[in-house]
Protein backbone atom coordinates (compact mmCIF):
# COMPACT_ATOMS: atom_id res chain seq x y z
CA UNK A 1 0.00 0.00 0.00
CA UNK A 2 1.44 3.29 -1.10
CA UNK A 3 0.09 6.67 -0.19
CA UNK A 4 0.95 9.77 -2.11
CA UNK A 5 0.57 12.89 -0.02
CA UNK A 6 0.86 16.53 -0.90
CA UNK A 7 2.11 18.20 2.25
CA UNK A 8 1.73 21.61 0.61
CA UNK A 9 -1.91 21.14 -0.19
CA UNK A 10 -4.54 23.03 1.75
CA UNK A 11 -6.35 19.74 2.20
CA UNK A 12 -5.50 18.45 5.68
CA UNK A 13 -3.14 15.49 5.68
CA UNK A 14 -5.55 13.31 7.63
CA UNK A 15 -8.17 14.00 4.95
CA UNK A 16 -5.76 12.98 2.23
CA UNK A 17 -5.02 9.74 4.08
CA UNK A 18 -8.73 9.11 4.51
CA UNK A 19 -9.42 9.74 0.83
CA UNK A 20 -6.61 7.51 -0.34
CA UNK A 21 -7.73 4.64 1.85
CA UNK A 22 -11.28 5.00 0.53
CA UNK A 23 -9.98 5.18 -3.01
CA UNK A 24 -7.89 2.09 -2.39
CA UNK A 25 -10.92 0.17 -1.22
CA UNK A 26 -13.09 1.37 -4.08
CA UNK A 27 -10.45 0.38 -6.60
CA UNK A 28 -10.00 -3.03 -5.04
CA UNK A 29 -6.36 -2.48 -4.15
CA UNK A 30 -7.42 -2.80 -0.55
CA UNK A 31 -9.51 -5.90 -0.01
CA UNK A 32 -11.90 -6.37 2.93
CA UNK A 33 -10.09 -8.11 5.77
CA UNK A 34 -6.73 -6.83 4.63
CA UNK A 35 -4.46 -5.30 7.23
CA UNK A 36 -3.24 -1.74 7.15
CA UNK A 37 0.03 -0.61 8.69
CA UNK A 38 -0.10 0.37 12.33
CA UNK A 39 -0.46 4.00 13.24
CA UNK A 40 3.21 4.30 14.06
CA UNK A 41 4.31 2.35 11.03
CA UNK A 42 2.33 4.42 8.55
CA UNK A 43 3.33 7.63 10.26
CA UNK A 44 6.98 6.68 9.90
CA UNK A 45 6.51 5.57 6.30
CA UNK A 46 4.93 8.78 5.08
CA UNK A 47 6.83 11.02 7.43
CA UNK A 48 4.03 12.58 9.43
CA UNK A 49 3.12 12.56 13.05
CA UNK A 50 1.41 9.54 14.56
CA UNK A 51 -1.53 11.64 15.72
CA UNK A 52 -2.25 12.72 12.17
CA UNK A 53 -2.48 9.13 11.01
CA UNK A 54 -4.49 8.24 14.07
CA UNK A 55 -7.06 10.93 13.32
CA UNK A 56 -7.54 9.57 9.82
CA UNK A 57 -7.88 6.02 11.12
CA UNK A 58 -10.41 7.10 13.73
CA UNK A 59 -12.54 8.85 11.12
CA UNK A 60 -12.45 5.79 8.91
CA UNK A 61 -13.44 3.65 11.88
CA UNK A 62 -16.36 5.97 12.63
CA UNK A 63 -17.36 5.64 8.98
CA UNK A 64 -17.37 1.88 9.33
CA UNK A 65 -14.57 1.50 6.80
CA UNK A 66 -11.89 0.28 9.17
CA UNK A 67 -12.01 -1.96 12.19
CA UNK A 68 -9.50 -1.33 14.93
CA UNK A 69 -8.88 -4.87 16.09
CA UNK A 70 -7.39 -5.26 19.53
CA UNK A 71 -4.92 -7.88 18.45
CA UNK A 72 -4.94 -7.96 14.69
CA UNK A 73 -4.38 -4.24 14.41
CA UNK A 74 -6.10 -2.15 11.76
CA UNK A 75 -8.02 -4.04 9.09
CA UNK A 76 -10.40 -3.10 6.29
CA UNK A 77 -14.00 -3.73 7.31
CA UNK A 78 -15.84 -6.57 5.59
CA UNK A 79 -18.87 -4.50 4.73
CA UNK A 80 -18.12 -0.80 4.83
CA UNK A 81 -21.38 0.99 5.51
CA UNK A 82 -21.89 4.55 6.66
CA UNK A 83 -23.60 4.87 10.05
CA UNK A 84 -26.57 6.57 8.43
CA UNK A 85 -27.22 5.66 4.79
CA UNK A 86 -29.80 8.33 4.01
CA UNK A 87 -27.59 11.07 5.44
CA UNK A 88 -24.74 9.78 3.33
CA UNK A 89 -26.83 9.90 0.15
CA UNK A 90 -27.88 13.45 0.88
CA UNK A 91 -24.29 14.47 1.44
CA UNK A 92 -23.23 12.94 -1.87
CA UNK A 93 -26.11 14.62 -3.66
CA UNK A 94 -25.27 17.98 -2.16
CA UNK A 95 -21.67 17.78 -3.19
CA UNK A 96 -22.63 16.61 -6.67
CA UNK A 97 -25.07 19.46 -7.11
CA UNK A 98 -22.48 21.97 -6.06
CA UNK A 99 -20.03 20.46 -8.51
CA UNK A 100 -22.65 20.50 -11.24
CA UNK A 101 -23.47 24.14 -10.59
CA UNK A 102 -19.82 25.05 -10.82
CA UNK A 103 -19.43 23.16 -14.06
CA UNK A 104 -22.55 24.72 -15.57
CA UNK A 105 -21.51 28.23 -14.58
CA UNK A 106 -18.18 27.74 -16.29
CA UNK A 107 -19.79 26.59 -19.49
CA UNK A 108 -19.66 22.81 -19.26
CA UNK A 109 -22.71 21.35 -21.05
CA UNK A 110 -24.84 18.64 -19.45
CA UNK A 111 -23.70 15.81 -21.70
CA UNK A 112 -20.08 16.53 -20.96
CA UNK A 113 -20.72 16.66 -17.24
CA UNK A 114 -22.38 13.25 -17.35
CA UNK A 115 -19.47 11.95 -19.38
CA UNK A 116 -17.08 13.26 -16.73
CA UNK A 117 -19.10 11.46 -14.08
CA UNK A 118 -18.89 8.17 -15.93
CA UNK A 119 -15.17 8.66 -16.55
CA UNK A 120 -14.64 9.38 -12.87
CA UNK A 121 -16.29 6.11 -11.90
CA UNK A 122 -14.38 4.15 -14.50
CA UNK A 123 -11.03 5.58 -13.56
CA UNK A 124 -11.22 4.51 -9.95
Amino acid sequence: MLLTLDLQSDVPIYQQIRQQVIHGIASGRLAPGESLPSVRQLAADIGVNLHTVNKAYQMLRDDGVLVIHRQRGVVVSEKPKPPDVSTFRLSVSDRLEQLAAEAKTFGVPEEEFCALCRDAWQSI
Copy 2:
Protein backbone atom coordinates in the same frame (compact mmCIF):
# COMPACT_ATOMS: atom_id res chain seq x y z
CA MET B 1 -30.98 37.60 -4.41
CA LEU B 2 -31.32 35.63 -1.23
CA LEU B 3 -28.47 33.82 0.43
CA THR B 4 -29.10 31.07 2.89
CA LEU B 5 -26.13 30.59 5.14
CA ASP B 6 -25.52 27.94 7.73
CA LEU B 7 -23.39 29.63 10.34
CA GLN B 8 -22.96 26.33 12.15
CA SER B 9 -21.56 24.53 9.17
CA ASP B 10 -17.92 23.63 9.01
CA VAL B 11 -17.83 25.11 5.53
CA PRO B 12 -16.32 28.62 5.75
CA ILE B 13 -18.88 31.37 5.26
CA TYR B 14 -17.00 32.93 2.35
CA GLN B 15 -17.13 29.55 0.62
CA GLN B 16 -20.86 29.33 1.17
CA ILE B 17 -21.30 32.78 -0.35
CA ARG B 18 -19.15 31.82 -3.31
CA GLN B 19 -21.07 28.60 -3.83
CA GLN B 20 -24.45 30.29 -3.65
CA VAL B 21 -23.49 32.93 -6.17
CA ILE B 22 -22.25 30.25 -8.53
CA HIS B 23 -25.40 28.23 -7.97
CA GLY B 24 -27.50 31.33 -8.63
CA ILE B 25 -25.78 31.86 -11.94
CA ALA B 26 -26.06 28.21 -12.94
CA SER B 27 -29.76 28.19 -12.12
CA GLY B 28 -30.39 31.41 -14.01
CA ARG B 29 -31.56 33.33 -10.98
CA LEU B 30 -28.55 35.55 -11.52
CA ALA B 31 -28.28 36.74 -15.10
CA PRO B 32 -25.06 37.97 -16.72
CA GLY B 33 -24.80 41.74 -16.33
CA GLU B 34 -26.98 41.73 -13.24
CA SER B 35 -25.80 43.72 -10.25
CA LEU B 36 -24.99 42.27 -6.88
CA PRO B 37 -25.18 44.19 -3.62
CA SER B 38 -22.04 45.96 -2.56
CA VAL B 39 -19.72 44.35 -0.05
CA ARG B 40 -21.07 46.58 2.70
CA GLN B 41 -24.68 46.03 1.68
CA LEU B 42 -24.45 42.24 1.54
CA ALA B 43 -22.46 42.06 4.74
CA ALA B 44 -25.17 44.04 6.50
CA ASP B 45 -27.96 41.98 4.94
CA ILE B 46 -26.65 38.60 5.98
CA GLY B 47 -25.03 39.78 9.16
CA VAL B 48 -21.45 38.76 8.60
CA ASN B 49 -18.13 40.51 8.63
CA LEU B 50 -17.10 42.84 5.79
CA HIS B 51 -13.93 40.88 5.22
CA THR B 52 -15.88 37.68 4.77
CA VAL B 53 -17.99 39.04 1.95
CA ASN B 54 -14.97 40.73 0.42
CA LYS B 55 -13.04 37.47 0.39
CA ALA B 56 -15.87 35.71 -1.42
CA TYR B 57 -16.18 38.50 -3.99
CA GLN B 58 -12.44 38.51 -4.62
CA MET B 59 -12.45 34.78 -5.22
CA LEU B 60 -15.35 35.08 -7.61
CA ARG B 61 -13.53 37.89 -9.43
CA ASP B 62 -10.41 35.73 -9.66
CA ASP B 63 -12.61 32.96 -11.06
CA GLY B 64 -13.88 35.34 -13.75
CA VAL B 65 -17.43 35.13 -12.42
CA LEU B 66 -17.77 38.67 -11.16
CA VAL B 67 -16.54 41.96 -12.49
CA ILE B 68 -15.91 44.66 -9.93
CA HIS B 69 -16.24 48.18 -11.33
CA ARG B 70 -15.26 51.10 -9.23
CA GLN B 71 -18.46 52.90 -10.12
CA ARG B 72 -20.98 50.41 -11.43
CA GLY B 73 -20.35 48.15 -8.46
CA VAL B 74 -20.37 44.38 -8.59
CA VAL B 75 -21.90 42.75 -11.65
CA VAL B 76 -22.13 39.20 -12.95
CA SER B 77 -19.66 38.60 -15.75
CA GLU B 78 -21.09 38.17 -19.28
CA LYS B 79 -19.23 34.97 -19.98
CA PRO B 80 -17.78 33.46 -16.82
CA LYS B 81 -14.58 31.62 -17.68
CA PRO B 82 -12.13 30.13 -15.23
CA PRO B 83 -8.61 31.58 -15.53
CA ASP B 84 -7.29 28.21 -16.64
CA VAL B 85 -9.74 25.91 -18.36
CA SER B 86 -7.65 22.76 -18.27
CA THR B 87 -6.86 23.21 -14.59
CA PHE B 88 -10.55 23.65 -13.94
CA ARG B 89 -11.42 20.44 -15.77
CA LEU B 90 -8.83 18.53 -13.81
CA SER B 91 -10.13 19.90 -10.55
CA VAL B 92 -13.68 18.88 -11.39
CA SER B 93 -12.53 15.44 -12.47
CA ASP B 94 -10.55 14.96 -9.30
CA ARG B 95 -13.43 15.89 -7.09
CA LEU B 96 -15.79 13.69 -9.07
CA GLU B 97 -13.46 10.74 -8.83
CA GLN B 98 -13.11 11.20 -5.12
CA LEU B 99 -16.87 11.37 -4.78
CA ALA B 100 -17.27 8.27 -6.92
CA ALA B 101 -14.73 6.35 -4.82
CA GLU B 102 -16.59 7.28 -1.67
CA ALA B 103 -19.90 6.20 -3.14
CA LYS B 104 -18.49 2.94 -4.40
CA THR B 105 -16.86 2.14 -1.07
CA PHE B 106 -20.15 2.67 0.68
CA GLY B 107 -22.03 0.35 -1.62
CA VAL B 108 -23.59 2.69 -4.18
CA PRO B 109 -23.72 0.90 -7.57
CA GLU B 110 -22.55 2.60 -10.75
CA GLU B 111 -26.00 3.11 -12.28
CA GLU B 112 -27.24 4.81 -9.14
CA PHE B 113 -24.22 7.07 -9.03
CA CYS B 114 -24.83 8.16 -12.60
CA ALA B 115 -28.47 8.73 -11.77
CA LEU B 116 -27.44 10.89 -8.84
CA CYS B 117 -25.20 12.89 -11.18
CA ARG B 118 -28.05 13.51 -13.60
CA ASP B 119 -30.40 14.43 -10.74
CA ALA B 120 -27.82 16.84 -9.39
CA TRP B 121 -27.63 18.62 -12.73
CA GLN B 122 -31.38 18.74 -13.11
CA SER B 123 -32.03 20.06 -9.64
CA ILE B 124 -29.86 23.11 -10.09
Copy 3:
Protein backbone atom coordinates in the same frame (compact mmCIF):
# COMPACT_ATOMS: atom_id res chain seq x y z
CA MET C 1 -20.42 26.62 35.10
CA LEU C 2 -18.20 24.63 37.37
CA LEU C 3 -16.63 21.33 36.51
CA THR C 4 -15.29 19.00 39.13
CA LEU C 5 -12.66 16.67 37.73
CA ASP C 6 -10.82 13.79 39.27
CA LEU C 7 -7.45 13.75 37.59
CA GLN C 8 -6.56 10.53 39.40
CA SER C 9 -9.57 8.64 38.10
CA ASP C 10 -9.14 5.96 35.47
CA VAL C 11 -11.96 7.63 33.56
CA PRO C 12 -10.36 9.79 30.84
CA ILE C 13 -10.58 13.50 31.53
CA TYR C 14 -12.37 14.21 28.26
CA GLN C 15 -15.00 11.66 29.28
CA GLN C 16 -15.47 13.37 32.60
CA ILE C 17 -15.92 16.70 30.86
CA ARG C 18 -18.41 15.14 28.48
CA GLN C 19 -20.38 13.59 31.32
CA GLN C 20 -20.50 16.75 33.33
CA VAL C 21 -21.73 18.82 30.42
CA ILE C 22 -24.45 16.23 29.76
CA HIS C 23 -25.34 16.20 33.42
CA GLY C 24 -25.48 19.98 33.44
CA ILE C 25 -27.91 19.97 30.54
CA ALA C 26 -30.07 17.25 32.04
CA SER C 27 -30.24 19.11 35.34
CA GLY C 28 -31.12 22.36 33.65
CA ARG C 29 -28.04 24.18 34.87
CA LEU C 30 -27.04 24.49 31.23
CA ALA C 31 -29.87 25.86 29.15
CA PRO C 32 -30.15 25.39 25.36
CA GLY C 33 -28.54 28.33 23.61
CA GLU C 34 -26.26 29.05 26.53
CA SER C 35 -22.59 29.59 25.80
CA LEU C 36 -19.80 27.44 27.12
CA PRO C 37 -16.28 28.71 27.73
CA SER C 38 -13.92 28.51 24.79
CA VAL C 39 -11.60 25.56 24.50
CA ARG C 40 -8.67 27.59 25.75
CA GLN C 41 -10.65 29.23 28.50
CA LEU C 42 -12.00 26.01 29.94
CA ALA C 43 -8.64 24.33 29.59
CA ALA C 44 -7.05 27.12 31.60
CA ASP C 45 -9.84 27.08 34.19
CA ILE C 46 -9.62 23.40 34.98
CA GLY C 47 -5.90 23.14 34.39
CA VAL C 48 -5.76 20.65 31.56
CA ASN C 49 -4.48 20.78 28.04
CA LEU C 50 -6.53 22.48 25.36
CA HIS C 51 -6.60 19.32 23.26
CA THR C 52 -8.26 17.40 26.05
CA VAL C 53 -11.09 19.92 26.26
CA ASN C 54 -11.29 20.03 22.49
CA LYS C 55 -11.77 16.27 22.28
CA ALA C 56 -14.65 16.44 24.74
CA TYR C 57 -16.26 19.31 22.81
CA GLN C 58 -15.89 17.46 19.52
CA MET C 59 -17.57 14.37 20.94
CA LEU C 60 -20.42 16.46 22.27
CA ARG C 61 -20.75 18.13 18.89
CA ASP C 62 -20.88 14.75 17.18
CA ASP C 63 -23.59 13.76 19.66
CA GLY C 64 -25.59 16.83 18.68
CA VAL C 65 -25.32 18.28 22.17
CA LEU C 66 -23.11 21.22 21.34
CA VAL C 67 -22.92 23.49 18.35
CA ILE C 68 -19.56 24.95 17.45
CA HIS C 69 -20.62 28.33 16.18
CA ARG C 70 -18.16 30.14 13.98
CA GLN C 71 -18.62 33.46 15.67
CA ARG C 72 -20.59 32.82 18.83
CA GLY C 73 -18.23 30.10 20.01
CA VAL C 74 -19.49 26.97 21.72
CA VAL C 75 -23.18 26.89 22.63
CA VAL C 76 -25.58 24.25 23.91
CA SER C 77 -27.70 22.87 21.10
CA GLU C 78 -31.39 23.77 21.06
CA LYS C 79 -32.57 20.23 20.58
CA PRO C 80 -29.92 17.71 21.57
CA LYS C 81 -30.62 14.52 19.65
CA PRO C 82 -28.29 11.62 19.08
CA PRO C 83 -27.46 10.99 15.42
CA ASP C 84 -29.19 7.61 15.56
CA VAL C 85 -31.98 7.30 18.09
CA SER C 86 -32.48 3.55 17.92
CA THR C 87 -28.76 2.89 18.35
CA PHE C 88 -28.80 5.19 21.35
CA ARG C 89 -31.69 3.30 22.95
CA LEU C 90 -29.93 0.00 22.44
CA SER C 91 -26.77 1.37 24.01
CA VAL C 92 -28.68 2.58 27.06
CA SER C 93 -30.47 -0.74 27.36
CA ASP C 94 -27.22 -2.66 27.15
CA ARG C 95 -25.58 -0.61 29.83
CA LEU C 96 -28.66 -0.86 32.04
CA GLU C 97 -28.80 -4.63 31.67
CA GLN C 98 -25.16 -4.94 32.57
CA LEU C 99 -25.74 -2.79 35.61
CA ALA C 100 -28.79 -4.83 36.57
CA ALA C 101 -26.87 -8.09 36.25
CA GLU C 102 -24.15 -6.74 38.48
CA ALA C 103 -26.67 -5.61 41.06
CA LYS C 104 -28.52 -8.91 41.00
CA THR C 105 -25.34 -10.95 41.34
CA PHE C 106 -24.40 -8.95 44.41
CA GLY C 107 -27.72 -9.54 46.07
CA VAL C 108 -29.70 -6.41 45.26
CA PRO C 109 -33.40 -7.33 44.91
CA GLU C 110 -35.48 -6.10 41.99
CA GLU C 111 -37.54 -3.59 43.95
CA GLU C 112 -34.44 -1.95 45.31
CA PHE C 113 -32.86 -1.74 41.89
CA CYS C 114 -35.94 -0.01 40.52
CA ALA C 115 -35.88 2.34 43.48
CA LEU C 116 -32.24 3.15 42.73
CA CYS C 117 -33.21 3.91 39.14
CA ARG C 118 -35.91 6.31 40.22
CA ASP C 119 -33.58 7.95 42.74
CA ALA C 120 -30.94 8.35 40.06
CA TRP C 121 -33.38 10.18 37.82
CA GLN C 122 -34.64 12.36 40.62
CA SER C 123 -31.19 13.33 41.82
CA ILE C 124 -30.11 14.74 38.50
Copy 4:
Protein backbone atom coordinates in the same frame (compact mmCIF):
# COMPACT_ATOMS: atom_id res chain seq x y z
CA MET D 1 -20.59 -22.01 29.66
CA LEU D 2 -20.32 -20.06 26.46
CA LEU D 3 -18.72 -16.67 26.21
CA THR D 4 -19.45 -14.38 23.31
CA LEU D 5 -16.67 -11.87 22.89
CA ASP D 6 -16.48 -8.92 20.57
CA LEU D 7 -12.82 -8.56 19.78
CA GLN D 8 -13.54 -5.35 17.90
CA SER D 9 -15.24 -3.66 20.79
CA ASP D 10 -13.51 -0.87 22.65
CA VAL D 11 -14.40 -2.66 25.86
CA PRO D 12 -11.31 -4.54 27.08
CA ILE D 13 -11.60 -8.29 26.68
CA TYR D 14 -11.01 -8.99 30.36
CA GLN D 15 -13.93 -6.68 31.13
CA GLN D 16 -16.13 -8.57 28.70
CA ILE D 17 -15.21 -11.86 30.38
CA ARG D 18 -15.94 -10.39 33.78
CA GLN D 19 -19.29 -9.03 32.65
CA GLN D 20 -20.34 -12.27 31.06
CA VAL D 21 -19.53 -14.30 34.14
CA ILE D 22 -21.51 -11.87 36.26
CA HIS D 23 -24.37 -11.98 33.80
CA GLY D 24 -24.25 -15.77 33.83
CA ILE D 25 -24.59 -15.83 37.59
CA ALA D 26 -27.38 -13.25 37.61
CA SER D 27 -29.32 -15.22 35.01
CA GLY D 28 -28.85 -18.49 36.86
CA ARG D 29 -26.92 -20.14 34.06
CA LEU D 30 -24.01 -20.29 36.48
CA ALA D 31 -25.00 -21.75 39.83
CA PRO D 32 -23.08 -21.15 43.05
CA GLY D 33 -20.54 -23.93 43.56
CA GLU D 34 -20.34 -24.62 39.85
CA SER D 35 -16.89 -24.97 38.31
CA LEU D 36 -15.46 -22.74 35.64
CA PRO D 37 -12.80 -23.77 33.17
CA SER D 38 -9.23 -23.18 34.23
CA VAL D 39 -7.41 -20.12 33.03
CA ARG D 40 -5.54 -22.16 30.43
CA GLN D 41 -8.67 -23.97 29.33
CA LEU D 42 -10.77 -20.85 28.88
CA ALA D 43 -7.96 -18.97 27.19
CA ALA D 44 -7.63 -21.79 24.68
CA ASP D 45 -11.39 -22.03 24.16
CA ILE D 46 -11.98 -18.40 23.36
CA GLY D 47 -8.61 -17.83 21.76
CA VAL D 48 -7.23 -15.06 23.88
CA ASN D 49 -4.10 -14.56 25.89
CA LEU D 50 -3.58 -16.33 29.23
CA HIS D 51 -2.98 -13.05 30.99
CA THR D 52 -6.29 -11.69 29.78
CA VAL D 53 -8.30 -14.50 31.29
CA ASN D 54 -6.23 -14.39 34.43
CA LYS D 55 -6.88 -10.70 34.87
CA ALA D 56 -10.62 -11.25 34.59
CA TYR D 57 -10.55 -14.13 37.10
CA GLN D 58 -8.50 -12.10 39.56
CA MET D 59 -10.96 -9.24 39.38
CA LEU D 60 -13.87 -11.60 39.94
CA ARG D 61 -12.06 -13.12 42.91
CA ASP D 62 -11.44 -9.65 44.34
CA ASP D 63 -15.14 -8.96 43.87
CA GLY D 64 -15.95 -12.09 45.88
CA VAL D 65 -17.65 -13.71 42.90
CA LEU D 66 -15.18 -16.50 42.32
CA VAL D 67 -13.19 -18.66 44.65
CA ILE D 68 -9.92 -19.97 43.33
CA HIS D 69 -8.83 -23.22 44.96
CA ARG D 70 -5.43 -24.61 44.26
CA GLN D 71 -6.89 -28.06 43.69
CA ARG D 72 -10.60 -27.75 43.00
CA GLY D 73 -9.94 -25.03 40.44
CA VAL D 74 -12.21 -22.08 39.87
CA VAL D 75 -15.71 -22.21 41.34
CA VAL D 76 -18.56 -19.76 41.66
CA SER D 77 -18.78 -18.38 45.18
CA GLU D 78 -21.75 -19.48 47.28
CA LYS D 79 -22.79 -15.98 48.26
CA PRO D 80 -21.11 -13.36 46.09
CA LYS D 81 -20.58 -10.20 48.12
CA PRO D 82 -18.63 -7.16 47.08
CA PRO D 83 -15.70 -6.34 49.39
CA ASP D 84 -17.38 -3.11 50.42
CA VAL D 85 -21.15 -2.99 50.18
CA SER D 86 -21.59 0.75 50.60
CA THR D 87 -18.94 1.51 48.00
CA PHE D 88 -20.67 -0.85 45.63
CA ARG D 89 -24.03 0.87 46.13
CA LEU D 90 -22.48 4.24 45.49
CA SER D 91 -20.84 2.99 42.33
CA VAL D 92 -24.11 1.60 41.01
CA SER D 93 -25.92 4.82 41.90
CA ASP D 94 -23.30 6.92 40.18
CA ARG D 95 -23.46 4.93 37.01
CA LEU D 96 -27.24 4.95 37.07
CA GLU D 97 -27.34 8.70 37.52
CA GLN D 98 -24.94 9.21 34.67
CA LEU D 99 -27.05 6.97 32.47
CA ALA D 100 -30.19 8.81 33.51
CA ALA D 101 -28.62 12.18 32.71
CA GLU D 102 -27.63 10.96 29.29
CA ALA D 103 -31.12 9.63 28.63
CA LYS D 104 -32.76 12.83 29.82
CA THR D 105 -30.48 15.01 27.72
CA PHE D 106 -31.36 13.02 24.64
CA GLY D 107 -35.06 13.36 25.20
CA VAL D 108 -36.03 10.12 26.95
CA PRO D 109 -38.88 10.85 29.41
CA GLU D 110 -38.80 9.59 32.99
CA GLU D 111 -41.47 6.92 32.59
CA GLU D 112 -39.67 5.43 29.63
CA PHE D 113 -36.39 5.39 31.48
CA CYS D 114 -37.98 3.50 34.36
CA ALA D 115 -39.54 1.09 31.89
CA LEU D 116 -36.12 0.51 30.35
CA CYS D 117 -34.76 -0.22 33.83
CA ARG D 118 -37.46 -2.80 34.50
CA ASP D 119 -36.94 -4.35 31.07
CA ALA D 120 -33.22 -4.54 31.68
CA TRP D 121 -33.78 -6.47 34.90
CA GLN D 122 -36.31 -8.80 33.31
CA SER D 123 -34.16 -9.58 30.31
CA ILE D 124 -31.26 -10.84 32.37
